[in-house]
């Protein structure tokens, strides 16, 4: 059922936003960003899915007009998106390590020297 995919990805995205909005631990905020990423990746894959389609891998002789396969473009997009998401997480974690060294806390309420 493709509907379950959409429901799951909406749940993941909303959960991610909920975590970003309510959790004060900046490590948890990064987890929230990750959840949004995964939700969107699931959305992309679900959009490219055709029920009953095969994997889009063919050689020239195998490819016929009646071949029925899932859309390969969203899969390439997902791969790019996963790589970017991993980079975001790595970068955010390294910033968190530095913030912990400098501020001595992970509390978002205390990491607010720049305000006003």
């Amino acid at each position: 059922m493709i509907l379950i995919n959409y429901i799951a990805c909406i749940i993941l995205i909303v959960l991610g936003f909920y975590v970003i909005l309510t959790k004060k631990n900046i490590l948890k905020i990064i987890i929230g960003m990750g959840l949004i990423d995964y939700g969107i990746n699931l959305l992309i894959i679900s959009i490219g899915f055709n029920p009953g389609g095969t994997a889009p891998i063919f050689t020239f002789s195998e490819l016929k007009p009646e071949s029925f396969f899932v859309d390969p473009v969203p899969q390439a997009l997902t791969l790019t998106s996963i790589v970017i998401g991993a980079c975001v997480t790595a970068m955010a974690l390294s910033l968190v390590i530095k913030i912990k060294e400098k501020y001595g806390t992970l509390d978002a309420d205390k990491v607010r020297r720049l305000n006003g």
Partner: protein
């Protein structure tokens, strides 16, 4: 010729990688690589002016030669029209001047190889963003841009708040990128292509609910990249903590990239400017942006943070003018975008020069530097006059166009707000000038020197460009702005060149209209007269001053006579400089509730900022679903 756009992007990325290999030990080598890469890219982009801006061609370029098959785009394409090239010129100019400025400016920093690597990647990403013709490619470039910008924000991580600013920028930026990605993929689910020209053709008169949803998400995501007001709070933090050459790049090209994406989205991709409601939405967010930006700037006491809020405010002008979807409005918006890059870059460089010379940008600690740094002071005044919209500098031209465009569109209240914002901009720059360059100099700045020549050259170039765009508006409009405006309005040509001629007419079902760029400038608008008047006044004042006409008594500077001492309520004052915070205390006291509320709203907590972004996105979605047919 057709390879120039891709080469200009690749050169910058190649420069970044070469810096990693050869520049990690030797300072000179990395500077050399950065200079060569940025100048090659500058030259390549400037050489595109003749074919694209003047002859009106559009360069289309399919990577790997994957041309459309059966009218269906399957490859990634670059498409450089006049609108993209306009922002490309802004970007390369900023890149080149910023690189030159940073040679001496980063002298005291260690590990500058990482600085140049990140800076070149940022530049390449911005160029890629404005030249690309593919929606997903745009997302990737936005992500590279955000990464590099976050890294550069945290570059001086010994400074107060740099890490914090970088973290906030990363969280907000990643929310924005997620919105862009979700919007992109929602469009893909509707039209099954990622090529912007083809999307534009297929979405014409075909705005399904999913497409509207995607439009709202993309608008919110790109607004976040342009730092429009409810999305803005990461911007002042980042601009303030980054090195000044990077702040210049941020305000000069990173948020211009967001503006470009908004223009491309509303004018070309969705044809949304046919709807009155979208125009009003853009005008509303633009007006709010310019007003809140400038009032926040009035309350700041750090030079760079103040400039950052002004940057937000000026972007508000651009968005407002773009929202007035007439040819005049778009001209005003693009002209102001160009001018904003010039004068805001100039002012950020001045801030960098001040920081280089004194080690601080706190307005309450500085004072009286005009005597020590006369050239910087002169350059600052040019920038301040430009941003405040005094004739004959460039801010006057574009602000005049904004007033005229909003007034002719029957938006007189917006015109009044724009005028008010301009006045407050002037007020806040009077404050800056007074507290940095005039008044009494604190004792610790006795040994301050003028900044080195390699830092002054980019500043002077920008100052001269500010004056040129101010006194030759007809030339700039004719050769730079008008082609970009007609490119933005003429999406039929954009589609045709990418997908093969005849495609647009077939899909759109109507012949391509050539947009009519026709407007007359109202009012007494003759820049040369203003320049002559300005020069004459300057000469007159100088002559009178030299002749002693002002009856100045030359006071002995070092006197022990107590009658020359500054006298405050019975006690001799040590230091009588009026501080930056105190200059507009009356205004601030009368409006203390507003300023207090705005100060509390910018709480510095990342959860609050994320809440603003998500809440505003929700409002966009609801508004667009309710009011677009």
């Amino acid at each position: 010729m057709q390879h120039f756009p891709i080469l200009s992007i690749v050169t910058l990325f190649l420069g970044a990688f070469l810096t990693v290999i050869f520049g990690s030990k030797n300072e000179t080598v990395r500077k050399f690589i950065a200079l060569i890469a940025s100048s090659i890219s500058l030259i390549l982009v400037l050489m595109l002016i003749k074919p694209i801006m003047i002859e009106g061609n559009i360069i289309q370029y399919w990577l790997g030669n994957w041309r459309p098959i059966h009218d269906w785009a399957i490859g990634i394409g670059l498409e450089v029209d006049a609108l993209g090239l306009f922002f490309g010129i802004i970007a390369v100019l900023t890149i080149f001047l910023s690189v030159v400025f940073s040679f001496k400016y980063t002298k005291k920093d260690s590990e500058t190889d990482k600085y140049y690597v990140l800076f070149l990647m940022l530049s390449g990403a911005v160029l890629g963003l404005v030249f690309t013709g593919d929606l997903f490619n745009m997302f990737v470039m936005i992500e590279i841009m955000t990464f590099a910008a976050v890294g550069l924000t945290a570059f001086r991580n010994y400074q107060e708040g740099a890490l914090e600013a970088a973290f906030k920028y990363l969280v907000l930026g990643s929310i924005g990128s997620s919105m862009v990605l979700a919007g992109t993929i929602t469009i893909y689910s509707q039209v099954h292509t990622l090529n912007m020209a083809q999307i534009s053709a297929l979405l014409f008169n075909n705005l399904t609910p999913a497409a509207l949803f995607a439009f709202a998400l993309l608008l919110a995501g790109f607004s976040l990249k342009a730092f429009v007001v409810p999305f803005h709070p990461a911007a002042p933090d980042a601009y303030m903590s980054a090195p000044s050459s990077v702040s210049m790049a941020f305000s000069g090209m990173v948020n211009k990239a967001g503006v470009y994406a908004i223009i491309r989205l509303v004018y070309v991709l969705f044809h949304a400017m046919d709807f009155k409601s979208i125009q009003i939405l853009l005008i509303i967010i633009g007006t709010i942006t310019m007003f809140i930006g400038v009032t926040m700037a009035l309350a700041q006491n750090d030079f760079k943070r103040l400039l950052a809020f002004h940057s937000i405010s000026q972007i508000g002008y651009v968005i407002t003018a773009v929202g007035v979807s007439t040819a005049l409005g778009l001209t005003a918006g693009l002209y102001h975008a160009l001018n904003h890059t010039l004068f805001k870059g100039l002012l950020f460089l001045t801030a960098g020069a001040i920081f280089y010379a004194t080690g601080t940008t706190d307005l309450n600690k500085l004072g009286g530097l005009a005597k020590k740094m006369p050239q910087t002071a002169a350059i600052f005044l040019i920038g301040a006059f430009s941003i405040s919209g005094l004739p004959p500098f460039n801010g006057f031209v574009s602000k005049w166009l904004v007033y005229q465009a909003t007034f002719e569109a029957n938006m007189a209240p917006v015109t009044i707000v724009a005028l008010l914002v301009s006045v407050m901009t002037l007020a806040s720059f009077i404050k800056v000038a007074q507290s940095i360059f005039f008044g009494q100099m604190p004792k610790e700045f006795e040994n301050v020197k003028e900044v080195p020549l390699s830092m002054r050259i980019p500043m002077w170039i920008m100052a001269i460009l500010c004056v040129i765009t101010g006194i030759l508006p007809n030339v700039v409009t004719k050769y730079l702005v008008s082609p970009a405006v007609s490119a933005a309005l003429n999406m039929g040509k954009y589609i045709d060149l990418m997908m093969g001629s005849g495609y647009a007419e077939k899909i759109l079902g109507k012949p391509i209209e050539i947009p009519n760029i026709d407007f007359t400038l109202a009012g007494y608008w003759n820049p040369v007269a203003w320049l002559v008047l300005f020069g004459l006044l300057l000469i007159a004042i100088t002559l009178v001053a030299v002749a002693g006409g002002f009856n100045t008594v030359s006071l002995p500077t070092e006197v022990d006579d107590p009658k020359y001492d500054v006298f405050f309520s019975g006690e001799a004052s040590e230091h009588s400089h009026v501080k930056g915070n105190d200059l507009f205390w009356g205004l601030k006291h009368d409006l203390r509730h507003y300023f207090g509320f705005m100060h509390d709203a910018h709480s510095g907590i990342i959860n609050d900022y994320a809440l603003w972004a998500i809440f505003t996105t929700t409002i966009f979605i609801v508004y667009i679903f309710l009011l677009v047919p």
